[in-house]
């Protein structure tokens, strides 16, 4: 083993003797490793952020919708269904969520509106945090009260302030106008990157009891969809299946597939899959740059073998075996790539943090780069493998030189 140490020493000596060239050789490896690590960590970070946001909003939620060409009461969700589902074990709340387009005029101008008609458990389903006032509940829904809830940011757009509880809002839908008293203001979720994101000119959303919308739309006795909050400790899929069975029993439509389940886990999974694929693809491209870096190492090592032919001859005449020369050159290639790999890891982590900070700043969200030890381990092993693999050919070439041939050359 002591001789291995000697070869490593020789290799380090040579690398240090050609600092500039050694650094340039490493650059390819540095860029390759750094880009792989940065991309994977940003991808992981985005995935983590998305998952935490979705589970914040949608954990344990089940969304059931009817077919879009539903024609009869058998195919629609009826108010009675909502009550029945609500009474089930494992169901914490049920709401409907039918959105209509409308408009309103305030001191700040004309605004487009999204009026979302909801049931009594809307606060729970929306996971709403109140800033002012209260969300409407069972009483308001049963009595069809003209109250609404608005988010603080939308309130500011309409009135310039979010302290708007008690104010009235004239809502026009289908040519009819009706006044709603603002009963509560919710806190717009911060970092709500993927779930709620406001832009200039985006319609203002207000939430109202569905019973209050009947005057305007006249169709509040059947619904296209409902959202169920299941007990989070239960298997969401199981609860969803039971809900569908209950609905099919009530509508005597077993096997007709009128009611379809969509839960957020599916959405989460498909989004994760997509993101994973994008990350894998970009990593693959970055991996190619690592390969090119490895070929760079091989190239320089070959040049080095040619330049040092005489040195190899001298060493051989002094008793160096083929394996000694081979180990010396292999150690040189491996150390070059290992150092390149370490620098690459540091640059990659720094780059991951940098780019995430940049994204966070420019898009009003927070992404923490997800740097896992396994990524770093794989990257390190890979760079060492690249070094050894691309070092073998030049090292063999060096080791196979005959001593007289090598000594004869200048």
């Amino acid at each position: 083993m002591s001789s291995i140490y000697e070869y490593i020493k020789m290799a380090v000596h040579n690398i240090m003797a050609n600092k500039g060239r050694s650094f340039l050789t490493m650059l390819g490896i540095i860029i390759g490793i750094a880009s792989v690590i940065a991309i994977v960590s940003i991808g992981e970070g985005t995935k983590n952020q998305m998952n935490s946001e979705i589970s914040d909003v949608g954990g344990g939620q089940i969304y059931i919708n009817c077919s879009s060409d539903a024609q009869t009461d058998d195919e629609w969700i009826l108010p009675g269904d909502i009550e029945a589902v609500r009474a089930m074990d494992g169901v914490e709340g049920v709401s409907i969520s039918e959105t209509y387009e409308g408009e309103t005029v305030t001191g700040k101008g004309n605004f487009k509106l999204y009026v979302t008609a909801e049931g009594q458990d809307a606060k729970l389903i929306n996971n709403a945090n109140m800033k002012h006032g209260v969300y409407f509940g069972e009483n308001e829904v049963n009595e069809g009260k003209n109250v609404c809830v608005i988010s603080d940011s939308d309130a500011k757009r309409l009135f310039g302030t979010d302290d708007v509880v008690g104010m009235t809002l004239d809502v026009t839908c289908y040519g009819l106008t009706k006044s709603f008293r603002i009963g509560g203001v919710t806190t717009q979720k911060e970092n709500g990157t993927f779930v709620s994101y406001t832009y200039e000119g985006m319609p203002v959303t207000i939430n109202v009891p569905y019973t209050a919308m009947n005057d305007l739309t006249g169709n509040m006795d059947y619904f296209y969809s409902m959202t169920i909050q299941a007990d989070k400790s239960l298997d969401t899929q199981k609860v969803a299946d039971e809900v569908v069975r209950l609905l099919e029993k009530r509508h005597q439509s077993a096997g007709e597939d009128y009611f379809q389940v969509q839960n957020f886990q599916d959405v989460m999974k498909s989004m994760n899959d997509m993101l994973g694929m994008v990350t894998a693809f970009i990593s693959f491209v970055a991996g190619i740059s690592l390969l090119v870096g490895g070929i760079g190492v091989m190239n320089i090592m070959l040049v080095s073998v040619t330049e040092r032919t005489r040195e190899i001859g001298i060493r051989k005449s002094l008793g160096a075996k083929t394996s000694s020369i081979m180990l010396q050159f292999l150690a040189e290639a491996a150390i070059l790539t290992a150092i390149g790999g370490i620098i690459g890891i540091v640059v990659g982590i720094a780059g991951g943090f940098g780019i995430c900070t940049l994204i966070s700043a420019s898009m009003e969200m927070t992404i923490q780069p997800g740097i896992s030890p396994s990524t770093i381990l794989v990257a390190t092993l890979f760079s060492c493998a690249v070094g050894v693999f691309f070092g073998i050919y030049p090292a063999r070439k060096a080791a196979r030189l005959s001593p007289i041939e090598a000594l004869r050359r200048n």
Partner: protein, 238 residues
């Protein structure tokens, strides 16, 4: 009778076998005993460099046998030859052949590294042999910080560091001025006095005359093999 240190039997080296073949060595027979000081002299193209490569185990003969220290090395493989070179032979080249980015002591340590000697012993042996050639104050200089004579002394120190029985010097004074040449030859003579077998390859009669035995090579054959009568008397003069 004790086996000679070097015994060469019918040694041939043929380049380009076939119609245009070149017989660099043509049935050479030679015996060198322990403790001899032999000069091998010949013009360029005489085959003396080929012979030196054979003696130094840097090349293998086309036919014939070469017994070094009792072992037939003519049929050995590359790696075995490396071991033989390391243990039995100390090379001194015309162009010094020091490794440029290593200091004097690091150069001297090289054969000891390949021998697998531990660091402490290595340092000790290297310092010892550098002292013998009078370079104890220049141990940490690199070759380009030294004169030609000094570089050749480093090369000699490297050749003797691993204490091989044979010193093989190929035109050791070829690149040196006369003062340095004299110095180097003096050291080689000292080596001989300490019991080493010194083989000096040269084309210069004046230098060959310094050795005790002169072997002349021409056209790949040994032309003459003479004992230098003046050698002993010269030694007595010193």
């Amino acid at each position: 009778m004790e086996e000679a240190l070097i015994r060469v039997v019918d040694l041939c080296k043929i380049y380009n076998p076939g119609e245009n073949e070149v017989r660099a060595l043509d049935h050479v027979n030679l015996q060198i005993d322990r403790g001899e000081f032999v000069a091998i002299i010949g013009q360029s193209g005489s085959g003396k460099s080929t012979f030196m490569n054979m003696l130094g185990c840097l090349d293998v003969p086309t036919s014939g046998e070469y017994y070094l220290n009792g072992t037939d090395v003519s049929t050995m493989k590359d790696n075995q030859l490396s071991v033989v070179r390391n243990k039995e032979i100390g090379f001194i080249f015309q162009g010094f052949n020091l490794i440029a980015n290593l200091t004097a002591i690091e150069n001297v340590e090289l054969p000891l590294i390949y021998r697998g000697i531990d660091r402490k012993t290595r340092k000790q042996l290297a310092v010892e042999s550098l002292t013998m050639v009078g370079l104890e104050k220049r141990m940490h200089h690199k070759p380009n910080e030294m004169s030609g004579g000094q570089q050749q002394r480093v090369a000699i120190a490297r050749a003797i560091a691993a204490k091989p029985p044979v010193i093989l010097a190929d035109e050791p004074t070829g690149n040196l001025d006369s003062a340095s040449s004299k110095e180097i030859l003096g050291i080689l003579k000292d080596m001989h006095k300490t019991g080493k077998t010194v083989i000096l390859i040269t084309h210069d009669n004046g230098i060959a005359a310094q050795a005790k035995r002169v072997v002349r090579i021409m056209d790949g054959k040994i032309e003459s093999d003479l004992i230098n009568e003046q050698f002993d008397s010269e030694e007595e003069d010193l």
